[in-house]
């Protein structure tokens, strides 16, 4: 086996890292509730309200509801991805198993890289499942409202998955850097849920606001969903700037986390 091959994560390593995540019942339950559970409950409640009082409550489907619940899935999917990223980045170290893996001779970079696909394979199916439920509901329960097109459903789904991926990578990098699950979840969620909307709403900051990953992600919200899928005011950014912000943030998090993970004493 060449040195490069030994540095790249193998399928078995990815499977092993996935095993560590999916066998945690608490993580499974929380991730399921934040994604699939929330969408199911929201749709059931909306439809029941509509059935009980159609004059007051509109149908549970349609483009507007897709926008509202699309935002919810993106927000709670980011929370789930943050928790999964923090867990993936700290589980071996917390259990004291990291050194046991290092003494096998396997490269530390390989151990670091394998957790990324494993974590995404763990969290993205939950987010995709939640979105699939919402996509079906938005069409099937549209009633008098316009149903979303296949194109809108597709790009909205990709946006939701991208948001979860970005927050997973950010959390994973921060977790490897700090070595603390609690700090990681606190830092990333504070940025996602509090600081981003706050800074985005301060118009005086101008272009500085565009440097936030949350603002860049909001810029990718399909226009057809309108303000229903938006937390703050729209901030116009070019596609190139949007891509650059997201790539720089995630690459920086992964690089710094990877440097820390591969250079510290095991």
């Amino acid at each position: 086996m060449t040195s490069l091959a030994y540095t790249l994560p193998t399928g078995r390593l990815v499977w092993a890292d996935l095993l560590k995540l999916r066998k945690r019942r608490g993580l499974l339950v929380v991730t399921g509730l934040l994604t699939v559970g929330t969408v199911l409950i929201a749709n059931i409640v909306s439809e029941l309200l509509h059935l009980v009082d159609p004059a007051k409550h509109g149908p549970a489907g349609g483009v507007t509801m897709l926008g509202h619940l699309g935002w919810t899935i993106a927000a709670l999917g980011a929370v789930a991805a943050t928790i999964a990223g923090a867990m993936a980045g700290t589980a071996d170290e917390d259990a004291g198993v990291y050194r046991e893996l290092v003494v096998t001779g396997r490269s530390r970079l390989s151990l670091f890289l394998s957790r990324i696909p494993a974590g995404l394979v763990f969290v993205l199916p939950f987010v995709a499942g939640a979105y699939a439920i919402e996509a079906v509901a938005s069409v099937a329960l549209a009633g008098v409202h316009p149903a979303p097109s296949v194109y809108l459903l597709t790009v909205s789904g990709l946006w939701v998955l991208l948001a979860a991926t970005v927050y997973f990578l950010l959390a994973y990098g921060v977790a490897c850097l700090t070595g603390s699950r609690a700090y990681t979840i606190g830092i990333v969620l504070a940025v996602r849920l509090a600081l981003t909307p706050l800074i985005a709403s301060i118009a005086a900051l101008g272009v500085v606001r565009e440097l936030l990953p949350g603002v860049a992600l909001d810029n990718l919200i399909p226009a057809a969903l309108g303000d229903a899928a938006r937390q703050g005011p729209p901030i116009g950014m070019s596609m190139a700037a949007t891509a650059a912000v997201l790539i720089v943030w995630t690459a920086a998090a992964v690089l710094v986390g990877g440097w820390r993970d591969t250079s510290r004493d095991a």
């Binding site: 040195s3 030994y6 193998t10 078995r12 390593l13 499977w15 092993a16 095993l19 560590k20 066998k23 945690r24 019942r25 589980a91 259990a95 004291g96 198993v97 050194r99 046991e100 893996l101 290092v102 003494v103 096998t104 001779g105 396997r106 490269s107 151990l111 004493d265 095991a266």
Partner: protein, 311 residues
Amino acid sequence: MNTSPNNFVVETDALTKRFGDRTVVRDVRLQVPRGVAFGYLGPNGAGKTTLIRMLLGLTSASSGSMRLLGLAVPARRREALARVGAIVEEPRFHGHLTGRQNLEIAAAARGQAAYELIGSSLEEVGLAVRAGDRVKTYSLGMRQRLGIARCLLADPELLILDEPMNGLDPAGIQEFRGSVRSFVERGGTIMLSSHLLDEVEKTCDHVAIVDQGRVIVQGSIAELRNNGKPSVLIETDEPARARAVVAALPSVELVTEDGTGLRAVLRDAATLPDVNRGLVEAGVRVFAFEPLRPSLEQRFLEITTRLENAA
């Protein structure tokens, strides 16, 4: 497979580790021969674990060089560690996974050949029946056996074990001793660190004595014992007078109280009858006169006492 071209499975030269101003491992030149149980013996804080962590690539050396199975580390660490099993401090696992799943994770890091050894490793340590249970339900002894099973996935030429007897009950220690001898008889080499002199003496063939980060002496246990001073245990009902008589003899270097009697350290084993004659001629009643076989503990204390006196 024998990956080492020479007779030493571990070699270090001028190996040093510093944490800030503190030197934890100091100019260590260590040679662990192939096919022995080698004890790395020293008091707590002597730098034993740090040396093992450097050998395994868990922490970097400040200076010096190391070879494992004849391969320079860290340059050829991957090849060297492929045939090394190691437990540093206590074996650690993911408690929410089963014993078998924990071994599968280790095997995923090692490669396909390790997967094929999972079943036999579990059998060998007697955990096949409990392999499907979560590790958090295992006792300390079971975790240590699972740690050994994880080492066996490497089909190791060399086992490096850090304080492996910590926390074991007497039966566990005896079982461990048997496992060590069995592994060595099959051609393997074990390097274990310990502060338990008696256990190292019973388990190992070779030893290095380390103190304050330095290797003081190394060699076979038989050699170290032979280098020790001969001594004799004297039981009498007149210890004060006996002590005065024995201490006055030119062939006696040191006399100490030793619980049941006096212990006289001699300059030369050939002068043993002179001590006996001196006591008889002085009219001291002697109930027992027992030449003592030099122990590793005695040798260790001689060496460390000499160091303290020199300091």
